[in-house]
Symmetry: C2
Subunit: 167 residues, 2 copies
């Protein structure tokens, strides 16, 4: 399988995520901790037909590009603590493949526009995919949460990003 | 924002997902419906250091490429029913950006190898990212599940993929 190392895959946005966050600093560290934070998605016209039936779902999975991130460190400090952690054990934007994952609440669809809540990405973020969130498949509650156990406090909604991932 | 339409993003695998499924047909339609189905991840050596602290998590989010899928239809039939649905309201592999999303259970890590359960991808799938699954952020149980409501029956673990997404 070693030949796969040289494979590359090219992706092109299907739309743009618009949010109140013009800068990388000061963004909620996770959207579900700030469920009231609103934004909207502009799905490019050529993909708009694929939005049929999306309205029936209350939550959507967004896959997008951390387009303002460059490079990565395999051991790095997460927002929630000062201890460096392995990159694949944290959700930081600087990754070998800088793909973001956020589950947002769908408030309303109008043609190719989706109004959403629970946003945690910078304004103008390139959207790669929308998938329906299905609780029977996607909600796992019996989990062991590693280093983050006990660190998910109710006031984390006030924890905002800083510049650590843009240096 | 229209200029974004022309942006492209290039991603390169960080590893390979090994599963018992050599063919596209006969794969469980969702890994969490077949939680006992085992596979393993080979993270390429150059990224292995990023696996530190991953062991603490019981569940991992895998983002990968549906590398055997080509093209897409914006309205298409999901595995669970015969009614055509909008592509962004189903989880089919044929998508504008064929990125797969599965939450798997981590059984064991040994160096750059992760033994996992709940796999639903074909053997040799290129892995793009691993993120820790954090129930406080990622588990949404109060959802409205659109067309799929009432279709997630306990026997869905026996529903297997067919050739509809490789034609």
């Amino acid at each position: 399988m070693a030949q796969r190392v040289t494979d590359t895959f090219v992706f092109k946005p299907i739309g743009i995520i618009h949010t109140p966050f013009k800068k990388i600093e000061g963004i909620p560290i996770q959207g579900s901790l700030c469920p009231e934070m609103r934004g909207w998605i502009e799905v490019f016209q050529e993909f708009a037909d694929g939005l049929q039936d999306v309205d029936g779902f209350s939550h959507l999975i967004l896959l997008y590009v951390f387009h303002r991130s460059e490079g990565f460190r395999l051991i790095t400090k997460p927002f929630l603590e000062e201890t460096p952690r392995g990159l694949f054990a944290i959700r930081a934007p600087k990754r070998p493949n800088p793909i973001g994952f956020t589950v947002v609440k769908l408030l309303r669809r109008e043609a190719n526009r989706l109004d959403i809540a629970g946003v945690d990405m910078v304004d103008g973020t390139p959207l790669l995919d929308i998938k329906p969130y299905i609780s029977a498949i996607d909600a796992h509650t019996d989990t062991k949460d590693g280093w983050i156990s006990g660190k998910m406090r109710s006031d984390n909604g006030k924890r905002l990003s800083d510049s650590r991932f843009i240096e």
